[in-house]
């Protein structure tokens, strides 16, 4: 079973040379730590920066320089700042190559829910609705089940949707799956996790074809 860092590490393998990448809050943010340093990648944060760098050194933080998670960051050489309208112009205009975000639920046709639990929790969709409606290439980083052990990979989402039929790939603590033809397709198992365990943790239809390899990092 993967921990959060390992999920991020596995997702980092999906980041290709020349990609502009938007990282959501939480596990996705960790992906930046694992991207190979022999490829060129630029991170976009939707609050208005391209070319986002690592956290600043102690004492060098700038309140006017944060990411979408409101964390203090730095800007790399070649960075640029812009306003929110232009930022979402980039996103809606499909100039960002890869979006990585978290989810509370994903359905087997690629619907995603991650912004609201009616009556309980409403943080808002932030930029997630724009991101999932626009991106060609969306990877969801998530735990396979909730704290009660219930599957978060469902036939149909039960929570209010963030977007419809948009998720292409899921990396959970148990598996890598592709969403295709209205089903989850199992691609890789987490080290030490069996196909049966994944099957059991997946409420939606899971297609298992041939031998499912263990993930490599």
């Amino acid at each position: 079973m993967l921990d959060k860092n390992q999920i991020a590490q596995r997702i980092a393998k999906e980041v290709k040379d020349g990609y502009y990448v938007n990282l959501g809050i939480g596990i996705p943010t960790l992906v930046a730590n694992f991207v190979r340093d022999d490829i060129s990648v630029e991170f976009q944060s939707e609050n208005g920066i391209l070319g986002m760098g690592p956290f600043p050194y102690e004492g060098e933080e700038d309140p006017d320089l944060i990411n979408a998670g409101k964390q203090t960051i730095t800007a790399l050489p070649g960075a640029s700042f812009f306003d929110s309208a232009m930022s979402f112009g980039m996103i809606r205009g499909q100039h960002v190559d890869l979006t990585i975000l978290g989810a509370m639920e994903v359905s087997q046709n690629g619907d995603i829910a991650n912004w609201k639990i009616p009556g309980k929790m409403v943080k808002g969709m932030g930029g997630a609705m724009d991101l999932v409606a626009s991106a060609e290439n969306i990877i969801v980083a998530m735990m396979h089940t909730n704290r009660a052990g219930e599957s978060k990979l469902l036939k149909e989402c039960t929570l209010p949707l963030t977007g419809v039929a948009c998720v292409k790939k899921i990396v959970s603590n148990l598996a890598v799956m592709e969403v295709r033809d209205g089903k989850f397709h199992l691609l890789e198992r987490a080290p030490g996790v069996s196909v049966e365990e994944i099957q059991q943790a997946t409420e939606g239809d899971l297609v298992v074809e041939g031998d499912i390899p263990e993930m490599k990092f």
């Binding site: 944060s45 939707e46 609050n47 208005g48 920066i49 690592p54 956290f55 600043p56 050194y57 102690e58 004492g59 060098e60 933080e61 700038d62 309140p63 006017d64 320089l65 944060i66 990411n67 979408a68 998670g69 409101k70 964390q71 203090t72 960051i73 800007a75 700042f81 812009f82 306003d83 929110s84 309208a85 930022s87 979402f88 996103i91 809606r92 619907d111 912004w115 609201k116 009556g119 309980k120 929790m121 409403v122 943080k123 808002g124 969709m125 932030g126 930029g127 997630a128 609705m129 724009d130 409606a133 626009s134 209010p160 949707l161 963030t162 977007g163 419809v164 039929a165």
Partner: protein
């Protein structure tokens, strides 16, 4: 040159009234019009609608207005950092319209630029699309969104000049530019106000035509919401 300077935040806020709609720039606590927000608290303006991406935190930014129950309705994209906000929303004390962040920015920009409506894919198939016109373009479904209407836009810039020209710094830019000229009256507070001619006209982010009043803020706390650093 048309001079837009006013003496201070009190003069800058002349004409605000109960029940009005305000746009406020900022992302989290970054780039928010601190001095104006404090003046709104001081004036105790009531029953206002605020268009702002976030709602501050409990003891800073728009959270100060929230605490005093000055806000009737919030139009935002993300309010996760504010416990009092969530409480007022869930209890029904405050009306809330949640809007996708890109749509929020574009509805401001549309108001500024005289585009009454536009189509976006954001929110199609979700609660956000309810009651809205939908249409397919290039094989993809979109929803029609309308420009916002607001009485005042309150923004914060880094530098400004007497002519109302604004330059922003880093990610403190965020929603501020799109809101300039989107409300009937735009009030800009800046960290440094300089005479006309000192800013390079190539570097101006927002031309003064979009700003009716400008003043230099008395002080800036610029609170950091999530301090994240690494060791040297």
């Amino acid at each position: 040159m048309i001079n837009k300077t006013v003496a201070n935040v009190r003069e800058a806020c002349e004409g605000i009234d109960d029940g009005m709609t305000f746009m406020l720039g900022g992302f989290g606590l970054c780039g928010i019009p601190e001095n104006i927000i404090n003046e709104l608290v001081r004036r105790n303006v009531q029953g206002v609608t605020c268009i702002s991406n976030n709602a501050g935190v409990d003891d800073f930014g728009l959270g100060l207005l929230l605490k005093k129950h000055q806000i009737k309705k919030m139009i935002s994209s993300y309010v996760g950092e504010n416990a009092e906000f969530e409480r007022q929303m869930l209890s029904g004390e405050m009306e809330v319209e949640l809007v996708p962040q890109g749509t929020l920015a574009q509805r401001c920009e549309a108001a500024r630029t005289g585009i009454p409506a536009f189509f976006t894919p954001a929110g199609y198939g979700t609660e956000v699309a309810e009651g809205k016109e939908t249409r397919e373009f290039n094989g993809k479904m979109h929803i029609m969104e309308r420009a916002f209407e607001a009485d005042f836009s309150f923004v914060k810039a880094w530098k400004g000049d007497e002519a109302g020209n604004l330059i922003f710094k880093g990610t403190a830019r965020n929603f501020n530019p799109a809101m300039c000229g989107a409300g009937k009256i735009t009030v800009a507070e800046v960290e440094e106000l300089v005479p006309a001619g000192e800013l390079d006209p190539n570097h101006v982010h927002i031309p003064g035509i979009f700003v009716q009043r400008i003043f230099q803020g008395e002080k800036y706390e610029k609170r950091i919401e999530q301090l994240t650093v690494r060791k040297k």
